[in-house]
Symmetry: C2
Subunit: 213 residues, 2 copies
């Protein structure tokens, strides 16, 4: 299923564009952060927030007081997700680059009001942040669910842009004795820091030791 529209067609370096849901979903599912763009008083505003995909929607959440969440359901927004995979070191400054996978989703979001949908969306966000943790938590209260706004943006108008592989240098530069290649970027997780306010001894659970393994 293609989610390509005129607006989501990659113009610059068009061969990096991808429009299949498989590519797009994989990027959305690996990333946890997104940057939400909207227009406020005629000027653009870009706000970072957590995202999770549930089926054919991207889920965002936050306080009912959030201007971002209110704005996202009354106007077109742009949600951009970017993963950086490595630094591309060429023989010339000009051909240096970054290996990346990014997704842009356009559309107007809608508020999730159905209680079951909302609970599922909130679970998806927690599961995204910290897989396997939900059964260990104090269950969500009605007050908390009511006190959280959840919105969803349909994945109907979107695109991915992907760069991978070695540098592409000018033909004559390959004769130069300059090391070129890619330095991969690796995201990992450090030793968990136990909350100093813990009132009892609780061993660090496996889902934390193997955090997002």
């Amino acid at each position: 299923m293609s989610v390509q529209t005129d607006r989501t067609t990659v113009k610059r370096l068009a061969d990096r564009g991808r429009y299949d849901r498989e590519t797009i979903d994989a990027i959305l599912d690996e990333a946890y952060l997104c940057h939400v763009g909207m227009v406020v008083d005629g000027s653009p505003v870009v706000i970072p927030t957590l995202q999770a995909r549930v089926g054919d929607h991207l889920i965002l959440h936050g306080s009912p007081a959030s201007r971002m969440l209110r704005g996202a359901t009354t106007q077109e927004i742009c949600v951009t997700v970017t993963l950086v995979d490595g630094f591309v070191l060429a023989r010339s400054a000009f051909h240096h680059s970054i290996n990346y996978r990014s997704v842009v989703v356009l559309g107007q979001a809608e508020k999730v009001t159905d209680e079951a949908d909302k609970a599922a969306a909130l679970d998806a966000l927690v599961e995204k942040l910290t897989p396997g943790r939900i059964p260990f938590l104090r269950p969500m209260s009605d007050k908390e669910v009511k006190g959280t706004t959840v919105i969803r943006l349909a994945l109907t108008e979107a695109s991915a842009k992907v760069r991978s592989g070695p540098p592409g240098d000018d033909e004559e530069d390959y004769e130069l004795p300059i090391w070129a290649g890619v330095v991969p970027l690796v995201t990992s997780y450090g030793t968990p820091i136990t909350d100093p306010a813990m009132r009892m001894e609780v061993p660090i659970p496996d889902h934390v030791v193997d955090f997002r393994a």
Copy 2:
């Protein structure tokens, strides 16, 4: 020097707002990526790109054909930079969070036309991506400098937003036998992958071995 304006004043969780250049510059200098927001045909568009700070300006660059770079000098843009430091695991789903440092810069960018300024800006971008590499490279040609658009955005209207430290749980939840704390996120660099198109043996230089150490 404060860069706080009404538009850059953090409204949600206002105690996380910072307006001093020292905090803002440190975040911009540690991050290499930014998300640029602008308005295209009335709708917001958010594009990821590399950034570097040179003094009191944020530098962006790209192809002269880039709609983003052209748009950024003819309208107000919003540049957002986000660093994620860790995942905050609370006792309730509700209080889960992320430790982060983000910066928002607002304003209209200007094209850098002075040749010396432009060369310095491009050097800053390469130095940002891969510190210490410039002396090893084939020098930039006039054609490359002319074929690259460089714009700069003054750091006059900006703000940072910072969350750090352990979770903040509901008072009664501290009595629950649930492990809580922070899992730090660590960004590191993998083994450099030599370009398979190398035509000669060149040892991996120190600035690559110690990449952004």
